[in-house]
């Protein structure tokens, strides 16, 4: 049974991306960590399509992973455009420079 190792690997990649997103302070690295979470989800989708719980293997997981890649590309373009804009405002990539809205 190969499904569980792949799902576990996807979960580990997602968690590592989450940890990186929470702990790093560089805006670019934070976006890179969201891409890492996407990698974990892609592994999950393809594994569930390849080793389904019921019935025959299908290709739907791969098709959904392709749509996910398209969404990731759109997200990267918009996110990096925002990062460039924020860098122009403050001259730094530190996420802490934008904490004016923080509730404290």
């Amino acid at each position: 049974m190969m499904l569980v190792p792949y799902l576990l690997l996807g979960a580990v990649l997602f968690s590592l991306g989450l940890i990186g997103f929470v702990t790093r302070r560089n805006l670019i690295i934070m976006f890179l960590c969201t891409e890492m979470m996407f990698q974990g989800i892609i592994v999950n989708l393809v594994a569930l399509g390849r080793y389904p719980l019921h019935g025959q293997p299908t290709l739907d997981g791969q098709v959904f992973a392709l749509f996910l890649i398209a969404v990731a590309a759109a997200e990267a373009a918009l996110g990096l455009a925002l990062v460039v804009l924020l860098y122009r405002y403050r001259g730094t990539l530190d996420a802490g420079a934008w904490s004016a809205l923080k509730d404290e």
Binding site: M1, M2, V4, P5, Y6, L8, L9, A11, V12, L13, S15, L16, L18, I19, G20, V22, T23, R25, N26, I28, I29, F31, L32, C33, E35, M36, Q39, I42, V43, V46, R50, Y51, L53, P57, L59, Q62, V63, A65, L66, F67, I69, A70, V71, A72, A73, A74, E75, A76, A77, L78, L80, A81, L82, V83, V84, L85, R88, Y89, G91, D94
Partner: protein, 221 residues
């Protein structure tokens, strides 16, 4: 849930906390050893007594090593390069799952297009020396604790009873994926094209806006 996996989760949490940027070099070295032990325990737990899992374990360990380096490296360019290694390892895993087309698409789109955009932006906003916000992580203890708590929850659920079933062969994925995309999911692919177009226009509209108090290091306009 096998005890080796619990051991590897605990070791991984401790090791990741130790290698987070901000600590001393000796601490990072101890953390790397701990992480290697965690990876070994994970590989042993997943492959114990099973044949044909060596390739999977190798690719998975490369992917995990690259992922840890992405979130702990102090230089953003190296983080991006380790992300390329992660994408290649994930593509190899997809090949093991007979998803040839998706593996090629992943490398072309992620390593070829998205990562190049990241490297452009990193170059654009490059600091002359390592920036202080890269050298120190924000709340590494609570971040690692929360992430590994989520991971432990997922792992416990994963190992709490799944039925074993034979894996059947899935042939001709390029043809199959193409047929699926252009028949069953044709609306979806049109929408994906629309989404990409909207993102393109939006990115241009956002990035060309000029702030009043521009603070670029060298005024190049």
């Amino acid at each position: 849930m096998p005890s080796l996996l619990i051991l590897s989760l605990v070791l991984g949490a401790i090791g990741l906390f130790l290698v987070m940027p901000g600590g001393r070099t000796g601490r990072a070295r101890v953390g790397l050893v701990t992480l290697a032990a965690a990876g070994g325990a994970l590989a042993a737990g997943l492959c114990a007594g099973q044949d044909g899992r060596g390739l999977f374990a190798g690719c998975a360990l490369v992917a995990l090593f690259a992922a840890v380096r992405v979130i702990t490296h102090k230089r953003p360019v190296y983080s991006a390069l380790y992300f390329v290694l992660l994408v290649v390892a994930v593509a190899a895993l997809l090949l093991l799952m007979d998803a040839e087309f998706l593996a090629a698409a992943l490398i072309i789109i992620y390593a070829g297009a998205i990562l190049v955009t990241y490297i452009f932006v990193i170059m654009l906003a490059q600091q002359s020396r390592p920036a202080p916000y890269d050298a120190k992580a924000r709340e590494p203890f609570w971040g690692c604790l929360a992430g590994f708590a989520l991971l432990a929850l997922l792992a416990v659920r994963l190992f709490s009873g799944t039925a074993a079933m034979p894996a059947t062969v899935l042939a001709g994925t390029v043809e199959g994926v193409g047929t699926r995309l252009l028949t069953e999911y044709v609306i979806g692919i049109q929408l994906a094209g629309l989404l990409l177009l909207a993102a393109l226009v939006g990115a241009i509209a956002i990035a060309r806006r000029r702030p009043a108090n521009e603070m670029l290091p060298e005024g190049d306009e």
